[in-house]
Structures are given as C-alpha cells and as structure tokens.
Amino acid sequence: MKKIYVREEWCLGCHLCEYYCANANLGNGDMAKTLKGAAICPCIRVEEDDRISFAVPCRHCEEPHCKKSCITGAISVEGGVVRVDKDKCVGCFTCVLACPYGAVMPSADGHAVQKCELCLQNNTGGAPACVAHCPNRAIIFEEEAEVASA
C-alpha cells in the first residue's frame, strides 16, 4: 500500500502541511476563509528546533497499538489504513497513551480523537493534502518498499 514518508533534510519548517491538513479535514474550501483566526488542529504535526524540522504523520503500523488498545472498537484497519470511527469514540485517549509516534491526538472539540487517514475520510479523494502542498517534496506518498524474499 502507499504510505506517507517524511524526508527531514528537505523540510523547510513552513508548516504548510499542517494548514492544508486542517483545511482538508474542514471541507477543503477556501483556506483563507476556513482557517482565518482559527486555531488549527491538524493530524500531521511539525517538530522543529533551530537545526532541523520534520512532519510526523500516522505510520499506519502493521501492528497498530492504537487499534489494539482502543476500548470501544472505534479504531479499525481497512486495507492497511488505520481509521477511527469518531461516532463510536468516547474520547478516553487510550490510543493517545498507546501511539509510539504521538500521531493519534485529541480532536479540536476534545470529545474524540483524530488521526491521519491518508485523506480517505475527507473530500480530497485519498490524495493526501500534506503531500500535495509540501513545497519541497519533504513529504511523499509512495508504495512501501517491497521486502526482498530470502
């Protein structure tokens, strides 16, 4: 399956991935109108210091701790994509406790969690907005490397 990968040496620390992610999940309308004055709550988060920066999206783990830990059954794996049913989620944050990448987070209202679903849950048609709008190709969407058979 295709996954999002991050190349930190190409990251400019511009945070555009966060804005495009937040906008995509708010309906993908006019970004200036949608996000004006709003605190954004993206599923991808940029980490940075004075030397480096890089974005952290969900890794869609093969053995997803968030899914195994979910107390409601709201997290499932569909075709390799780890997805969350916000209607089932009660916001207990057990998945936040469990994710080793810090990539499952409280949603803006705090009543459920959110995570990257490779833009399958919004209207971008499964073309991740963070990838499409990264100006330096620091975030890429590619097939997983095939493991050579022994």
Partner: protein, 425 residues
C-alpha cells in the same frame, strides 16, 4: 482443530482475531454467560451519561461472529474444565471438547460483609451492562447515591450518574482517590476536580453499618461517626480475578491465573488472557494482574496466534505488557504508565502549572524511563509509553528533553529515519 473460548470481551475478541490472522478454517466456539453481543465493559459509565448507546458500545461490528466464522454460545455458563479429557462442562449439562482452550473469564466485583448490607435492596455493583441498565432505571433527579469505592470503577460510575443526580457521595477506606493509579499529589488534584463537579467524598473511612429508614431510603453509619442517607448504593470496592475454573482443574493461580507472554497456563492446551490473569510486566519482569482492556486484547491476540500456529512461527511477537491507563473525569484526562517510585526517591520529576500536572519516574543508573502520570494535557503521551514498554535505553539528556516536550526530535536521526522514512530494502 477446535478452539474453545470462555468469555466474550476484549481478551476473547483478541483471541478470535489472533486465530484468524493465520487460520481461516479451524473451528472456534465461544461460550459466554452474558447474552449480549460483545460490548465494551468500560463504556457502561458512558452509557449512563448518554455519551454512547447500546449499538455504539458494541466492541466489534454486528457481523463479528459470522465474519470470523465463530459459533457463539451466548447466555451459557462454563462450570468445569477437564484438562485430561480436554472438555468444558456447561451449566446446561452439555459438554464441549477442545483442542485448545482460552479462559477469558474476567473478574468479579468483591463485596465485603457489613452489618445491615443484606437489607439494602437498592444495591448494585458496576461492571456489566445490566448494572448500568438497572441504574438508568433506578436513579433519577432526586436519588441520593452512595458509592463505595473511589477507584476507577466507582469514580467513572460517579461521573456517569452525575448527569442524572446532584446527590452523589463516594466513600473509601483509602485516603486517596484512584489509589491504584495515582500518588497523593495528583490524587488531590483529581479529588478537587471531582468535588468542583459535584461529587462528594468521605475518604479514609468505611461503612460500619447500614440501616433501613422508616420513611424510605437507607442510612450508612460511617466509622468516623457520620451518617449518610441514600436511596441507591453502588458497590465498587474492587474486583477479583475469576480464577476458579482453572484452579479447580489443577492450574496454577495466584491473584490471577498465572500465564506466560503467550497466555499459556501450566495446563496443557489451556490458555488464559485478560482480567482473570497475572502475567509478566515488561517494565519490571514481575508477574502481576494488569487488568486493563488494551492488555486483555493483546494477551488474547497473542494466545490466539499461538493456539492456531501449531508450532509454526507467529505472525508477530506478543506485545510487551505494562500497566498503562487512560481515563478522564469531567473533561480532565489522566494518563499513566509503568511504575512509580516512592515519594522522596531519586528520579522523580514533577511539575504542575495549575492546570496540567506531570510526573516522571526516571532511573538514571539504568537510563530508563520507568513510569509517568499526566493530568490534563495528553498530547503525544504515547511517546513516553513506548519508552517504558520497549525498555528503551534513554540517556539523561534525552530524557530531560523529552520531559519538557514529547517528540521524535529527541531521538537520533537514525531512529527518526526508521520511523518516518521509506525503508530501502
């Protein structure tokens, strides 16, 4: 092969999914006392609060048994295991044979005797759907509720019932709330938060006697001398692992059924998982009861994979298990994992900004994060949990950076690349 599962909650579901990871044809027979489709036990307090419903609290979709080709005997109780004959006897008189057996019998509430307790007709424990449904019937706006037990179950019940009545008092012999997961400082913060949301406490005391009042309702006489009038009693003073089936069959039990990381008991072909077990804590190596839903699922999955593998390699290694818990009350979240040091010990790092409390337990000589407690801000706490679960070597400078802010930036470029880059094979 025929796999039999006793239980129908997280460990049982984990076992079904573990078996089906590698094997689509073996027979799976699941036996459970409760008549319901698998549901999430911890959600019963959310049901009371109106934050979920019977449909949404199902732990797996409606077609779970059919999709996994499981024969589910719901509403049937297993009463004995014969490990030599490899059979399970049911209360109904039937006997079922197994090639492998998973015991996922969970735990049961403990009720301690007290004078007059038998007179209290309006008494419930709080671990099953039927308990929540009974409380939804019995508790209204004017109901005075007395809850015995300020642990996870008692306090989630209090939070749920608070949406129905303003008159809730919690009594516990322990001087702290949530003594199983919190130390005194964070416990005091949570107690104050619960009090501010209308839950009353009488801690460090217990009920000496119950009386029926002539005009209706009841009265609890506390050891402290105070009396509390109430209409509904919820008994949440703790739970005990359901070990009886395995113990009677000659299996090793202690506070729970003793299992290894694959869920194997000392009885051949008999596995156990979930709240009925005690298993190795990956953080300390000690066997303990870690009765938490995520652990139950992962234990069940590991057992299921091994039950179906027949000696072949497993699709993945069993997940290391540690104490880890996330719970919230009236919007304030509590995340905790690992073990805590005694107050005053080296390696405790604590801060509180009036809103968010954080405490880390770092073993400088072993260079390992051993445990943490976070109140309030929860973001990215899983980065800490993973360090404990994986027993990651963590030099002090790295720990101090992570303590300030959880992030992958504290790790080496190689570790980050492993996590984030496309791997060239």
């Amino acid at each position: 092969m025929k796999h039999v599962i006793i239980g129908n909650s997280a460990a049982a579901v984990g076992c079904v999914e573990g078996i089906r990871r590698t094997n689509s044809t073996d027979d799976i027979l699941l036996i459970a006392s409760e008549p319901h489709h698998t549901y999430s036990r911890p959600l019963i307090s959310y049901l009371i609060a109106g934050k979920t419903d019977r449909q949404r609290m199902k732990y797996r979709p409606d077609d779970f048994y059919a999709a996994n080709n499981v024969t589910a005997l719901l509403g049937k109780t297993a009463v004995a295991i014969d490990p030599a004959a490899q059979t399970v006897a049911l209360e109904s008189g039937e006997t079922v044979a197994y090639d492998t057996l998973l015991v996922a019998t969970g735990s049961s509430p403990v009720v301690f005797p007290a004078e007059g307790l038998e007179q209290v007709q309006n008494m419930r424990t709080f671990t099953q759907l039927q308990d929540a449904e009974a409380l939804l019937e019995s508790v209204g706006e004017n109901t005075r509720v007395l809850i015995i037990g300020a642990g996870l179950i008692g306090l989630k019940c209090a939070e749920g019932l608070r949406s129905r009545t303003a008159n809730i008092t919690v009594v516990d012999l322990a001087p702290l709330v949530l003594s199983s997961i919190l130390k005194p400082t964070p416990a005091a913060i949570i107690r104050a938060h619960l009090e501010a949301n209308g839950v009353g406490f009488r801690l460090g005391t217990s009920v000496a006697a119950f009386r029926t009042l002539p005009g209706g309702g009841y009265e609890a006489q506390l050891q402290s001398g105070e009396t509390i009038a109430f209409d509904q009693l919820v008994y949440a003073a703790g739970v005990r692992a359901n070990t009886a089936l395995v113990k009677a069959a000659g299996g090793e039990t202690n506070r729970g059924i003793v299992v290894n990381t694959l869920g194997q008991t000392n009885l051949p072909h008999v596995y156990a998982a979930g709240d009925c077990t005690e298993s190795p804590d990956a953080c300390t190596g000690q066997h303990k009861v870690m009765a938490l839903l995520p652990n139950a699922y992962m234990q069940g999955e590991a057992a299921g994979m091994h039950m179906a593998a027949g000696g072949a390699p497993l699709p993945c290694a069993p997940e290391p298990l540690i104490p880890e818990n996330a719970i919230g009350f009236f919007g304030k979240h509590i995340l905790s994992a690992g073990i805590y040091f005694d107050d005053g010990a080296e390696g405790k790092y604590e801060d509180f900004d009036g809103e968010n409390y954080r405490c880390f337990y770092y073993d400088a000589s072993a260079q390992r994060l051993m445990g943490y407690i976070l109140l309030g801000r929860a973001e990215r706490a899983g980065i800490y949990t993973a360090l404990i679960r994986e027993a990651t070597l963590l030099p002090e400078a790295q720990f101090q950076q992570l303590r300030r802010e959880p992030g992958l930036i504290a790790f080496s470029p190689e570790v980050r690349a492993q996590a984030l880059r496309k791997q060239v094979v």
